[in-house]
């Protein structure tokens, strides 16, 4: 029986980052993973979807290559090679997973493969091994959840209703796809399959997709998706699923639609199996933790999706570091108002902080300033002019409290806003910061100019 300072259950971005951080702080660490290192993020989520989206983007670019002055010699002979698409995805995932495994090895983290079961507050069993620990970090992640819809379970068993993991491992290029849900994952898969030529219908219960985004973002992405060919049905109630057929109703009455697959993107629930002995206190969303990621059980911490809340890889990683730092005696916390979030649609969305509505509801003296991509030189040159930046600030000092970017590279641009907000920066600071030309990032400076006075490159009457 081995004893560790810290045992981490789950090798996703919460768990493996915690393990490496703990090792770097000279703790003895064991990491237990039932499947592959990297969790959903590396194996079934972030990385593979971005790989596939790259192919989809390339395909879209090639379809309009002629307008950029590039023609294929034999006319329009562009086609999606599904097998190669999947092969590239697998190779990218393997490369990244292999990299993380190397990191764990280099940092002398003992990795145990198997399903962990808690024996008591100090003991974890994995396979034939029994591990003792001084501190436990639970990073078991989440799994897709399915609401009780008539016929859903049998369609799931038949492989017609699929989750995101199945969706990135399809053997054939689907002709028609129905997506249930209107969240970030639903929008990303709608973008992916639509761009690859699949006919996509998105069914969303509420009146709008992307409910947590800023109003302007929601409106633009929904409109742009529709214009790109995604059939978006909002305000619908799914009544039943029968094989490939989905029955739903809306204000106009009853409808039905069919697809090769029905992708259920209806939220995720925490993985808490095997932890029962600990009698952890649960919140509505998952394991209840305090700001230091401590659970109600002494020396037991939980990070990432299993805690619910913002189910994002970078939140899990940040929480993993916070848990370890607190274990190692450093008081550390996370400001959840300053977590950037990304949507890998075409164009992308990068957002952080308050939406305009949230800021008003929170009682700020709200100022907003937007700047469109269509007035940005680089965007025009690249032919990617759909999008904008919107800065929400508190008028008292001009503090930036929210930034919402829709742009072809919005996910890479939002970090500027994150840094600014972490430093309690103001629109004055953003406006005074010289941004390089020609870049998409100039729109942030222009919008800040707009907040302070007027943007340079926009006629504001």
């Amino acid at each position: 029986m081995k004893t560790y300072d810290i045992v981490v259950i789950g090798g996703g971005p919460g768990g493996y980052v915690a393990a490496i951080k703990a090792a770097q702080m000279n703790a003895s660490v064991a990491l237990i993973e039932a499947d592959r290192i990297g969790g959903v993020c590396l194996n079934d989520g972030c990385i593979p979807t971005k790989t596939l989206l790259r192919s989809a983007k390339l395909y879209q670019d090639m379809l309009r290559a002629a307008s950029f002055g590039i023609s294929l010699e034999n006319g329009n002979a562009i086609r999606v090679d599904w097998q190669q698409l999947m092969a590239r995805k697998t190779s990218v995932v393997n490369k990244i997973v292999g990299g993380v495994e190397q990191l764990l090895k280099f940092n002398k983290v003992d990795v145990y493969k198997g399903y962990a079961t808690i024996a008591d507050e100090r003991t974890v069993k994995v396979g034939a091994e029994t591990l003792q620990h001084k501190h436990l970090i639970i990073a078991t992640g989440s799994s897709p959840q399915y609401p009780a819809i008539e016929g859903l379970q049998s369609a799931l068993n038949d492989g017609i209703v699929i989750d995101s993991t199945r969706a990135i491992n399809l053997e054939q290029h689907p002709k028609r796809m129905i997506i249930l849900g209107g969240g970030v994952i639903a929008v990303e898969f709608a973008t992916l399959f639509n761009s690859l030529g699949t006919e996509v219908t998105l069914l969303q219960r509420s009146e709008q997709i992307l409910k947590n985004q800023d109003e302007d973002v929601k409106v633009l992405i929904q409109r742009h998706l529709s214009e790109s060919g995604v059939a978006i049905k909002t305000g619908v109630a799914i009544t039943r699923i029968d094989g490939h057929r989905v029955y739903y109703k809306d204000a106009q009455g009853d409808h039905e639609t069919t697809g090769d697959y029905i992708l259920a993107s209806l939220g995720r629930s925490p993985n808490t199996k095997g932890l029962e002995v600990l009698q952890l206190k649960m919140s509505k969303q998952g394991i209840a933790v305090d700001e230091h990621m401590k659970t109600n059980v002494p020396n037991v911490y939980a990070v990432g999706d299993v805690c619910g809340g913002m189910m994002l890889a970078h939140v899990a990683s940040a929480q993993g570091i916070v848990a370890v730092e607190n274990i190692m005696g450093k008081d550390s916390t996370i400001n959840y108002r300053q977590i950037p979030s990304c949507i890998y649609s075409f164009p992308e969305v990068g957002a952080i902080g308050y939406t305009e509505d949230e800021a008003r509801a929170a009682g700020f003296d709200v100022g907003t300033s937007s700047f469109p991509l269509s007035a940005n030189g680089k965007a025009v040159a690249e032919g990617e002019t759909v999008g904008f930046v919107k800065i929400i600030h508190d008028k008292q000092y001009g503090e930036v409290i929210g930034v919402h970017i829709v742009a072809s590279h919005a996910t890479d641009m939002i970090a500027e806003a994150a840094a600014t907000m972490a430093l309690e920066g103001t629109v004055y600071d953003l406006a005074k910061t010289v941004h390089p030309h020609p870049t998409l990032s100039e729109i942030v400076m222009e919008a800040a100019h707009g907040a302070v006075d007027k943007p340079i490159h926009l006629i504001k009457r």
Binding site: Y397, E399, L423, E424, G425, T426, Y428
Partner: protein, 468 residues
């Protein structure tokens, strides 16, 4: 390179005049060798060189007015980077300071103030607070939490008067300005100690609480209560405005702080010092032989020290933040001295270890030093109980203000002959009026009375003072 600065020597001294220079450019100096003399409102301080090396430049001329934080002499000590005697780790910041100092040598350092105007489109938000610190580049590390006023705490704040450019967020700076918070004093909780808006709010709240509850705290020491008073109401009475001296301002602030922090209670009594008068007359010749100018004050101090030993809570400080009383393990008696510039309180250190003659010598030495302003800072610090002798100007009773953060102060009036009743006979005796102010938070009236009785007992049987 080493910048020798006018370091914060405490005691509310912020500025001074360069009185003497002992070195010239190009001259070699040894560590410990005197570089210059600074005249301040309280003391003349000779500043020794913290390093050995060659004098690279002298930034001020004799007679120049200098502020705390100003670099006065730059010494090439052969070390890489720029260091100074005001902080251990400000080498990065120092390089810019030096430049600034050079460009405006001895000049008036005015705060750069740029109003952050939101609606005018003026997109410049300048740092305001520490901008005045081309010269005053500094902060005293004070947590937004109130620091308990332990002796150690107070000493720490004064001695580590570490001056550096404050790392703060733009919003924190604006907020500090609006709330009137001196950002230099705020301890940042952000990355690398960056001052965040929450730190400013917490500090402002703490200040408010301090003002409301007047806890005994280091923060309160720095709260310029006297400065924040409202402007006077207008009046038609003709006035002549007289500038307060630094010493006067310090006295004012100390008084306000003590008065609004410590719940003063004053107890008055009279002592029959007939025998003490006789004793003093008896030993006057001996004193002269020993070259001692013997005063009653020496006897009073002896009696008070013996009283303090019997009542340790009188020789103490209250630490409200930690709900503790700090019983001082030394007997350093502050004596209020009237000087032409105002009140000064030099300290007789370890008075319990001195004979009456030795105390008398110290009184003479310290009061002369106070008047001539030749005292060292150390001679004005760390008293544990004080005594004020307004009897020297003929007064009888008073309500003395405690020297913060002590627990008591004894006011002694002038000895006068009075008719008193002894064994049903009216006789003429020498009577000494005593007024003891004490901190009612930790000392109740009965205990104060017992302390006064002990002092009385000793003063009316003065031989005990010699024997005990």
């Amino acid at each position: 390179m080493f910048n020798v600065k006018f370091a914060d020597i405490g005691e509310g001294i912020h500025e001074g005049v360069l009185l003497k220079l002992f070195v010239d450019i190009g001259q070699t100096v040894e560590e410990g060798e005197n570089l210059f003399t600074l005249e301040t409102d309280k003391v003349n301080a000779e500043i020794p060189s913290p390093v050995s090396g060659t004098v690279k430049s002298v930034q001020y001329a004799v007679g120049d007015r200098v502020n705390v934080g100003d670099t006065i002499v730059v010494i090439d000590d052969g070390q890489p980077g720029v260091r100074s005697n005001m902080a251990m780790n400000e080498s990065e910041m120092e390089s810019t300071d030096t430049n600034v100092d050079k460009s405006e040598t001895g000049g008036e350092k005015t705060p750069k103030s740029t109003e952050p105007r939101f609606d005018t489109g003026d997109s410049v938000v300048e740092t305001v607070e520490e901008a005045k610190g081309a010269s005053v580049v500094g902060e005293i590390e004070v947590s937004s939490q109130l620091i308990p006023a332990s002796e150690e705490g107070a000493a720490h704040a004064a001695e580590t008067g570490v001056k550096r450019k404050v790392l703060a967020t733009p919003v924190a700076r604006s907020l500090a300005k609006d709330l009137g918070v001196d950002i230099q004093r705020v301890k940042g909780t952000g990355p690398n100690g960056r001052v965040m808006k929450a730190d400013i709010r917490a500090f402002a709240d703490a200040q408010q609480r301090a003002a409301a509850e007047v806890p005994l705290s280091q923060s309160a020491v720095n709260t310029p209560v006297a400065n924040t008073s409202k402007p006077l109401p207008s009046s038609d009475v003709p006035v002549k405005r007289v500038q307060m001296s630094m010493l006067r301002k310090t006295v004012a602030e100390n008084m306000v702080q003590s008065r609004f922090t410590i719940p003063h209670t004053t107890m008055m009594d009279e002592v029959d010092v007939h025998e003490l008068v006789a004793l003093k007359r008896e030993v006057a010749e001996l004193a002269t032989e020993e070259g001692v100018k013997l005063t009653y004050l020496a006897f009073f101090i002896k009696a008070i020290v013996l009283g303090l030993k019997a009542f340790p809570f009188m020789n103490a400080s209250v630490d409200m933040a930690n709900s503790e009383v700090l019983l001082k393990q030394a007997y350093h008696i502050g004596i209020a001295v009237d000087t032409p510039d105002g009140l000064m309180v030099p300290v007789i250190k370890n008075a319990d270890q001195l004979s009456i003659f030795e105390i008398a010598r110290e009184i003479e030495r310290l009061s002369q030093g106070a008047r001539a302003r030749t005292l060292q800072i150390a001679e004005l610090k760390d008293s544990t109980f004080s005594i004020t002798n307004y009897g020297s100007v003929g007064s009888s009773f008073g309500v003395p203000i405690i020297r913060y953060p002590e627990a008591g102060i004894m006011g002694v009036g002038s000895i006068q002959k009075k008719p008193v009743v002894i064994e049903d006979e009216i006789v003429i005796r020498e009577i000494l009026p005593l007024s003891l102010s004490f901190d009612h938070r930790i000392i109740d009236g009965a205990d104060a009375g017992r302390f006064v009785n002990e002092v009385k007992r000793l003063l009316s049987n003065p031989k005990k003072l010699i024997l005990m």
